[in-house]
Amino acid sequence: MAGTAVLGRLNWLAAKVTEVRPETERVRSIVFECPGWDGHMAGQHVDVRLTAEDGYQAQRSYSIGSAPEDDQLVLTVERLQDGEVSPYLVDVLEAGDELEMRGPIGRYFVWEDSMGGPLLMIAGGSGVVPFRAMLRHRVAAHSTVPTRLLYSSRSLDDAIYREELEGLAVHDEIDIRFTLTRAQPTGWKGYGRRIDREMLAEVSWSPVGRPRIYICGPTAFVEMAAGSLVELGHDPFLIRTERFGPTS
């Protein structure tokens, strides 16, 4: 049912945790069973609602990390310092627990095989989550769209889905590149600095081929990457962004 337009109300659904998987020291994937879930497009997010004993509620949005074709719905959540909801999701929630969820939300920051490519994804930190959904969709749909992911993380240990991403390199036309901004292992052959214009010029295709570009990460990261790609000649209308985190 991927791609179905939602015309009615997005109702809150009861979602049961079937599994929690640590991804990094600060990040965990949560697998849900969610009866009534009507499918999603790769790149969309959900609203999660928690309710305390006394009825107090808190809502937040999280990107979906699973593909529309996957059997299970997966959210991958980073614990934010001083966060209200993410520490609960990363440290407290266990298999068997239930919470409320509604979605899918956002029909702009999405990619489907039918949209074509080339597909360029630029991720900072947990900004890689919607791109895992897009990559898994690309593989499940047997797409041949040339695809590149440039993924910036602090260290190899902080790279979310690292093994899965490295494993994708077996597919023709999927190119995954890491840059490690704080610590690089001995003999590291990838990039070892923050994303900059020179790196983007090396990784992005020529603007002539009109790649579809998606950028997701902290605000300053997205501003820098999107601004540089426009300067390099890419059409701003082909660049879709999702920003998170405070500005200062």
């Binding site: 409320e100 029909r107 920051f109 501003e223 920003r243 200062s248």
Partner: protein
């Protein structure tokens, strides 16, 4: 009936007056940035603001003309559909009442149009009567590009996606035409006090 989340106590809002916080929102002291695409960079001598769709000739102001118009400074709470609210934000700009004048003909809706292609739709009564501004200062400083500078629409009583960044004008219509986020699944009206986040809410 909501599901109680085992072990969740939450952090109650640190606000003196919780009646200022709409349902599902939390208070932030930061000023988060949400935009669907790159931040447009425009020279002020290329900027203009236009009212069109009323009569044959659009009304247009250059940056110099626009910033010579009488301004208002307002202190308002803002509410983003992504759940954050920010209290007592200070904006300076031109009242939409002044820009639109009083004769709308048969028009009943406006579409704000922007650099970068963004649009959002509003009924005229939601942007008149002292409820909306085209703001070009935040905290009495020039509005930062990532927050919508040089100028953005300010409609604080609706979710903040209605306060279109990089606004370049208002187009009047007799019919309602859903804008950018309104087409991608967000609510057509967007009242935070009725939690009108998504289509169908």
């Amino acid at each position: 009936m909501s599901i109680i989340s085992r072990g969740f106590s939450g952090r109650r809002p640190q606000v003196d007056d919780s009646s200022r916080l709409p349902a599902g929102q939390y208070l932030t002291l930061d000023f988060p940035v949400l935009s669907a695409g790159p931040t447009p960079r425009l020279r002020l001598d290329e900027w203009s603001f236009q009212i069109r769709g009323l009569g044959d000739v659009p009304r247009s102001w250059s940056w110099e003309e626009f910033t010579a118009l009488p301004t208002e400074t307002v202190t308002v709470d803002i509410h983003c559909v992504t759940k954050w609210s920010k209290f007592d934000t200070v904006w300076t700009g031109v009242s939409v009442d002044l820009l639109l004048g009083e004769d709308f003909g048969a028009a009943r809706f406006v579409t704000a149009f922007c650099d970068g292609g963004y649009t959002t739709n509003l009924p005229i009564e939601e942007v008149t009567g002292g409820k909306a501004w085209v703001a070009y200062q935040y905290d009495r400083e020039p509005l930062d590009p990532q927050h919508g500078g040089p100028a953005r629409l300010l409609v604080p009583h609706l979710y903040f996606w209605k306060s279109a960044k990089w606004v370049r004008g208002l187009e009047l219509h007799t019919e309602d035409k859903p804008g950018f986020w309104e087409t991608y699944g967000y609510h057509n009206h967007g009242d935070p006090w009725r939690e009108q986040r998504y289509s169908g809410d």
